[in-house]
Amino acid sequence: MNRWFKQKLGRDLMVVLYSFLALALVGSIFMYVYMEERVAANEQRLQDVDQRIERLNALWDDWQGVQYEARGYLVFGDTESLDRAKAKENEFQQEINWFKSVVQTKQGEIFAEDLQEFHDFYFGVILPVTTEYGQLRADGEITETTINPETVLALPTAQRLIEQGVVPYSPERGIDTLGPIQQIETALSDYKDLMDSEKQKVYDAWKLNNNILQFLWIASILSFAALILLFIQPFLRRQTRLISRLSIASDRLLKGEIVDLSDQMGREDEIGTMSRSFHKMAETLRDNERHLIEKNHELQAQQEELIAQQEELQAQQQELEEILEQTQQNEQHLAYRNELTETLAARDSLTAYPEIIEKLVAITDSEVGALVFLDATGSFSITSHGLNETLTRQLLDSENSVLTRAMTLRTTVHSSKQVASDHPLPYPYYMYETAVPVHDPTDDAIIAFIYLVRYKDRFTQTQMGDIMSFARQLSLSLLRMRLFEEMTREKGKTERILDSIREAVIYVEHSTDDVFVNRPLYEMFPELDDITSNELAELSWNEWRETIATTVDQNDDFLKYTDQLFTDDFPHDSVSFSIRKGEMNLQMYAERIVVGGISKGTLLVFRDITSETEAERLKSEFISTISHELRTPLSSIYGFTELMVKKQLPNEKQAKYLETIHAETERLTHLVNDFLDVQRMEAGSQMYDREQLDVEPVIRDMMTFYEASSLKHQFELVTADDRPYELFADCQKFKQLMSNLLSNAVKYSPHGGKITVELAHHDQSISIKVKDQGIGIPSDALDRLFDKFYRVDNSDSREIGGTGLGLPICQEIVRGHAGQIHVESVQHQGSTFTVVIPSYEYAVREQESTTA
């Protein structure tokens, strides 16, 4: 048990607390039972008192009732009242009996006896006497108005009662009736007061009870609290002391002191556990500290060693820096050499001479220097660094200059001379010059000199070596540049030639797969422009091919042909296709470039054949149209003749068919003639037999002819003035022109109307207008009106026959006379064809000026 307490802090405290709680519980239960009992007792008493008061009141009421009835009988002689009073006796007796049964005190007993005594007196004496008195008054034997006690006394009943000694009687006072009544009324009232005081007592007792209870409650709480304080304080003080010992110990531990907690460590509770952990921790800390101190010592030793090493390294570094400086110098020298070599190797080295000489001067530690080039004519050109004009002139012109000597000797020449102090340096010094010839590696001729000058010191062996090696490099570089220039020139020439031809060309070099294209290719395929400019034209053949293929309409043909290019099945034929949805027609063929039996490359050529194809198409279309135009009348002639030959026909039908055949034959003839005319005119083979022609009488004659053949039309010729309208024209062709225009005017005004021809002079020409009031021409047809075989396509014009060649012929005739024809028309109102041809005077003058 003792151990159990020690295992955990606060267990003893808990036990005490629980004990108190139990005690308080028991006390509370006891008090509760006691209080309940008291309350019940009080209630019982109260109930008892209440019941007595109630009965007392009832008794009082009964008594009053009896008295009231008895008096009523006496006064009025009412026997019923008397009966009622008698009847009350029993009830009265019952009440008295109850009081007798519940007697508890002496007072109660006396009260009950009083009651019984009074009852007996009243019902035994007063009521029988009263009854008799009332009877006698009713009988009239007594007549007195007020009750006379003597009369009453004289009543036989009263006498009998007195004799029996039942009635207290004194001769002076007679029967004392009022005495018992007053007595009983006092008794009742006294008893009632007693009950009331009894009730008050019960209430007081109750109140006292409550007060005692409250006091007990508060007292118990206070004592409980006091007890708890009394018990807990020492306990807490004990625990706090233990913990504060631990806290003090940890403080001491922090300060590095040795801590002994052995007395607490033996404990079994939490304090014991904490003390043991604390002890362990303190030991670990001490160990660690010891370890750290050792480490620290070790590190200090190491640091010292490091400082020593660092000093050594600094010394080494200094040494290295010195070496580095040297190396950097060498590196700079090498960098210059390297740059020099690179500059020479670069393509644009021709323009980089100043840079070259500058670097050379730097490498060789010279002061000034120059590159002197000899051209084919023997004159010099010079690129110098630091060389002023005087020195340059001396160098080039003086016969004794190192350059001149080197030229003559064709070898390297050195010279040294003392220079006066007015020169760059403030004291007399030597100037060392050297001129090294540069030979053309192909024919050993001198092509240039390297000229360098140093002050104070001569050129060292190494520097001379540098200069000589540079001279060799320069000679090779110059040769390479000359070759490169030649090549560029050749290449430019080839490119210009290839760019100038009309065909587009792609050349694929077999060894490198490089692709070369000429400018017309870009013009032919603008799509390529976008791509190549983006990707710097580094496209492979396949990329070229793919891009071109996207524009080709007959994609498959193109790819199939180009697929064969690099196979043994090399296509020797050409292929045609269109690009960009027929925008251009191309013919493509390929050639192998073979040199010495080895194929070096493949050439693909695109030729623009758009115009040829178009011409071909137009020709084919023309022939197709002509054949169609010829087939229609031929069909009629063929058909009708066959019918006439093979069938039995009635006469009128035969006549009609013959007429038709004739008309169709005529149409065919016209067609063939017109067609031949057009053909001849278009081919430019129409010869015009031109002469001075006054057109007015010609037109008038023709109009007279047409007027005669048409009844529906009125013809009028309007001339602006009386001067002759002279053209330099072929009379037959002019008639053909006018005939076409006039017959059109008649044909296309089927309902008749006026046909007017107007002639007018202009500065250099004569205009002829042919106006009709016919069906007119739809505005959308005006543009195509002069096309061959074009017929206005509507129901009106369909009725009207024609070859569709009349107006094209008119146009050719007018053009043949250097004139113009045009048309204005409003549909359903008429058309006006205007022909403007140079006047005779102007035409002749023009002709003379051209022949001259």
Partner: protein, 120 residues
Amino acid sequence: MVKILLAEDEEVLRMLVLDTLEDEGYDIDEAPDGLEAYRLIEQNEYDLVIVDHMMPGMTGLEVIEKVRKLPGRQHTKVMMLTAKSQQSDRDCANEIGVDYFISKPFSPLELVKIIGGIVN
């Protein structure tokens, strides 16, 4: 009675074919252009439609192409009279739905024979 539509813009040729076929007892409607031809085919059911190719308004091929899209006119027999007699023209016409192809100039009696073969 066999009903035939003749669409031909050349009046003379129309007369030729009409005369020839009427003698054979066919009932013939005439159309002077493509539009009229289409209208008639739309309204009537013909045993044979003869169309010229080159007609104003709508070419014969255009008429047939439209006719073939009409309900119940997919199988109307169509004969084309044309001055275009190249094989490529014929192929094109066949594709569109021309059943017979007669090139101009033609023999009317031969035509009568062919039509007899078709409609019987």
